[in-house]
Symmetry: none
Subunit: 401 residues, 2 copies
């Protein structure tokens, strides 16, 4: 049986409030054998207080050994099996800039790049142009017309933009035109099946026109496209869980992921303090609150152990304001690990804390990867955190007589 | 989604080396309440050093409570779901003696047995004849002809041989003719479906002829057959994982299992020291090394606790030579437990150690069943060890954007 079918059958909405606080890339590694992880090194008195009252464990985003991107990592935390629901990057980027993608759309992430006279890529990010230039270049691309489709080009930030091709019978089994290296030209698009061949044909016309309209605009004189994706059909969190969910995130990608599962996306400001203030402001209007904190991941990706520790401490410092609102369930976890030692996402299980008045206590007294090994949640697939949250919120009835 | 499809998509071959050291039947039980297991009793300074740098846990070969044979146990360690891939004993035995089974073949394991004048079995292993006699008896069986099929009879060792029936439309849903007891005659073969009825009819003719040609050869004057099996279609480890795998095993069964998943089978000598020398010799030619150590299982099956402890210590003594080669990932585990207290395979989870430079430390400092309970791997299906090995070897890309 599909777990969503089960939850739909068992859900019993009530007035409880659930907060899912995602510290992106929370899990880490010690720099030296015998050392501590970032989370273990951080001074986290408020998280530790939660840990002592709640239950801890480690969540496995996809499967042991599998390193998730942000999409699968978050879908799992929202209770959607990340192996069943696969979301292409193009869709995520489009959702993240509030573009209303629909069933006739194929979306793709675009990069402005620099090419030399022979058309070979010399900079895959066009020197990271200011966002204003990105906007101006997108305005040029918006003049391109290809018969049979509507084309929407929208800036994201710096070198990044989104293209949406809207038409009938468009497939998304199209390769990236980004060759992932310099010294070679962008790749032509090819479709793996007839509808995707249609898309590829349109894409190649668009790219040829883009080269023409941008030819005098070095360093932003060419584009690459990656992550062609159709809009997926996904039941909303309200349908499945009976909650009224809101996303309080700063970065587009996470807003997009939230919108995909039917969350309202709040205007969350730009700092964690803004986000917590937004949470307070919206407290009476919603009952499921997804707070996304980006900087535990970005400091990890930078390989900056000390900065990641500091970001964790900053998160800890905001916790009392969240708890003061009186959530019935508070989960603190990550969508994956991003050890600063590895400077990238990793497969390591993610430290997880669930606080509610109905937790069975375990022996864990501090928040950290090694301590969580002794936690009452054990090591569980991340997609089961959502049923656990609903259960602790009194929102799930009994299965079977 | 099938995990193999996922891994095929994510695999990123590199120059890393993975060693999978399988101590057959490694897991055990204490003889007395409060006592230690074989592994906990053994002095294992080298394994313990690995444990302190690596991550430990317990692997569950099939499902909790399910006792695996060598086939499912090893398939799981190779990352093949043992409930999806089912390999009959006949195929394993045929592979183990280098017999080239193909898609038209049904293979079966044969035993020479002793029967009395009434045809009742008096010794199910014919007094364990010397292998030379097995060869001579097989030569007699090779004279048997049955219309419609080619029959191949090959000696294994002592009382054991293999028969392969090659023909069209042969099924393998045929019962064992071995009644698993003495005092009764061998059972007739019966097929559970039309193709298997064809096979059974042929088998019964073969057995009748075997009784005739061996009638003066007591104690090897009859045969029993068990484990009828067709050749399964299995993707190779190279296809799924992108590794170049080699098996360094002494016993035919394990060579056969390795060949089934596309491993090259090395000439490994006959002792563990030979095997480690083979590993050293082949180090530059392959990147995945399966070392199989039989004697932890056979001493367990003998019920010899002290001998099993000694075998574990012998294994431990070879570990420095393996580590000196500089593997990127080293896994030490078993394909199942074989507690000497039970004198048989068992369902108990198997102590498992994974060493690499990217392990998140846990609190385990000694190798043993009880210590592994606190390990960072938790208790996981054995089939996930392979994705974990690939992840730690840097051989898996990110799943999703």
């Amino acid at each position: 049986m599909n777990i969503h079918d089960l939850i739909r059958e068992l859900q019993e909405p009530n007035d409880s409030k659930i907060v899912l606080l995602v510290a992106d890339g929370l899990g880490g590694l010690p720099l030296e054998p015998g050392g501590k992880t970032e989370l273990e090194s951080a001074r986290t008195p408020n998280l530790d207080a939660c840990v002592r009252e709640g239950v801890c464990g480690l969540s496995i985003p996809v499967l042991p050994g599998i390193t998730p991107g942000s999409g699968p990592g978050h879908l799992a935390l929202f209770g959607y099996d990340p192996l069943q629901y696969r979301i292409g990057r193009g869709i995520l980027e489009a959702l993240g800039i509030n573009f209303e993608v629909g069933p006739r759309d194929v979306a793709v992430r675009g990069n402005f790049v620099t090419v030399d006279d022979a058309g070979r890529i010399t900079d895959r990010r066009a020197g990271r142009p200011p966002t204003e230039r990105c906007v101006a270049m997108c305005r040029k691309l918006q003049t391109i017309r290809v018969p049979g489709v509507d084309i929407f080009v929208e800036p994201v930030r710096e070198h990044r933009f989104v293209v949406v091709f809207r038409g009938d019978q468009l497939g998304d089994a199209v390769n990236d035109t980004d060759p992932q290296q310099t010294g070679v030209p962008p790749l032509p698009a090819r479709g793996a099946d007839p509808p995707s061949e249609t898309t590829a044909h349109i894409v190649n016309q668009f790219v040829a026109e883009a080269a023409r309209v941008l030819r005098d605009d070095a360093p932003t004189n060419m584009v690459t496209l990656r992550g062609f994706a159709r809009y997926p059909k996904i039941a909303t969190m309200h349908e499945v869980y009976g909650v009224r969910p809101v996303a309080i995130a700063v970065y587009p990608m996470y807003k997009g992921l939230a919108r995909l599962v039917g969350m309202t996306v709040a205007d969350a400001g730009s700092t964690l303090a803004d986000q917590v203030e937004t949470l307070r402001r919206l407290w009476d209007q919603f009952d499921f609150f997804f707070l996304h904190f980006k900087y535990t991941d970005s400091t990890g990706e930078d390989g900056n152990f000390a900065a990641k520790v500091e970001m964790i401490e900053r998160l800890d410092a905001e916790l009392p304001r969240i708890r003061a609102l009186g959530p019935d369930v508070l989960i603190v976890t990550g969508d994956h690990s991003t050890p600063s030692k590895l400077r990238s996402h990793s497969w390591h299980p993610v430290p997880t804390l669930l606080w509610s008045r109905t937790c069975r206590p375990d022996a864990v007294t501090e928040f950290g990867e090694t301590y969580c090994l002794r936690g009452g949640l054990g090591q569980i697939p991340a997609m089961y955190l959502m049923p656990l949250a609903l259960a602790h919120a009194g929102r799930l009835g009994k299965y079977g007589a």
